[in-house]
């Protein structure tokens, strides 16, 4: 169920990202919900199954960009594994730490993609500001995803009981 929500939400996030721009086409800053989504997914899914669906998300992302699938795969899978590693090795995570991970992996994703584009110098300051925007959006994304997950689980339970 978590993977299903992940892919559907991921697709809509990409659609929003590619169509809802702030001021003009060349503006660097935009609404990017993907880092928060990967963060949530890594905290809720196991490593191997998760990696498989991350590859799916990378495929979807490459549809909306000139960058190749491999660039997104590398950027996303690294982010996913980092969070999974932290999740396994840390016993307790507080909310601020969780949302800070969004900033962290957002920066990581941008580093990989900017390096792939040959423009690493663009990371400062725009990349960092984008990371902060993503971190600010993270609680909203977590709230939506948690509610969706809960809702779908209730629906499935009710169907099982009636069936």
């Amino acid at each position: 169920m978590v993977s299903f929500i992940f892919l559907i939400f991921g697709y809509f996030s990409l659609l929003i990202e590619s169509t809802l721009y702030f001021f003009d086409y060349s503006n660097f800053l935009h609404i990017d919900l993907i880092p928060a989504l990967i963060n949530w997914y890594a905290l809720n899914e196991n490593n191997w199954k998760g990696s498989f669906f991350i590859a799916f998300l990378a495929t979807l992302a490459s549809l909306f960009s000139i960058l190749p699938f491999t660039a997104f795969l590398l950027a996303y899978i690294l982010a996913f594994w980092i969070i999974t590693y932290i999740k396994i090795n840390l016993l307790e995570l507080n909310k601020i730490q969780i949302h800070f991970f969004t900033f962290f992996i957002s920066t990581e994703i941008q580093v990989v993609l900017l390096l792939w584009s040959g423009r690493p110098e663009l990371l400062w300051p725009n990349g960092m500001i984008q990371g902060l925007i993503n971190m600010a959006l993270s609680p909203v994304v977590f709230l939506i995803l948690n509610k969706l997950n809960l809702l779908l689980n209730i629906i499935i339970k009710q169907k099982d009981e009636t069936g």
Binding site: S18, Y25, S26, N27
Partner: protein, 281 residues
Amino acid sequence: MPRKQENKTKERIKKALILLFILALTISGFSLNYLFKHKITAPIETALKDISSQLQGYLSEPFTKLRLIWKSYLELKNVKEENQILKLQLAELQQEITTYREALIENRRLKKLLNIKRKLNKKSIVGRIVGIDIATWHSILTINIGKTDGVNLNAPVLSQGGLVGRIIEVGLHYSKVMLITDYNSRVAVIVQRNRARGILKGIGEKGCILDYVKKGIDVQTGDLIITSGIDGIFPKGLQVGRVSSIEPQDNMELFQHIKVEPSVDLDSIEEVLVLIINSKK
């Protein structure tokens, strides 16, 4: 004790007599007043009324004001409701005006594109911008026309004012346009005034630079840059931009540092014109 009782009885009788006297006086007064047609009480009445009217005059002012305030409040309540209805109507009308204005602006833009189409005398098709690249540092746009509409790879893309870019990916119903400001964009150009050749490179948000123009060649701010046609992608003579600045360079350098401002405001384009080129070429 009997003395006290005697006194009390006397007092009662006294009170009763006074009451009877007042009663008799009142009745007789009324009767007399009636008989003499108010002639006796009339002056008193008039005097009292005068005084009263004066007092009424003083009091009526603040009371009238209070009444007016109350009336105004009631009216205001009605006006408020009316105002809300009018506001809603106004918002609806404003929305309608915006829609009409938008249609008018779109019409003007399309007319300009049509003029370019006529001038070029080449087969072309109008596309609408539907999206941007999620790697926002790339200046790449998605348009709503593709192979089924006759769009081919590397087809030049124009807008009112001049060159926008070229097609770098074609789907059935969509295409991706690389703007001339993209870091990977290269266009063979010439300076219109003195025919000096160069390569126009994209530098992202900052615009473009004209590279490989030798040091001694006279290029001035404001010079018009047009496509040279030697790259085999863009037809000759398309307006690209104007020289915005020429930076001073070291003696060791071979080429000039020329900044070019694109003719088209690439940040606000909504429709583009894609030239239909022969795919075999």
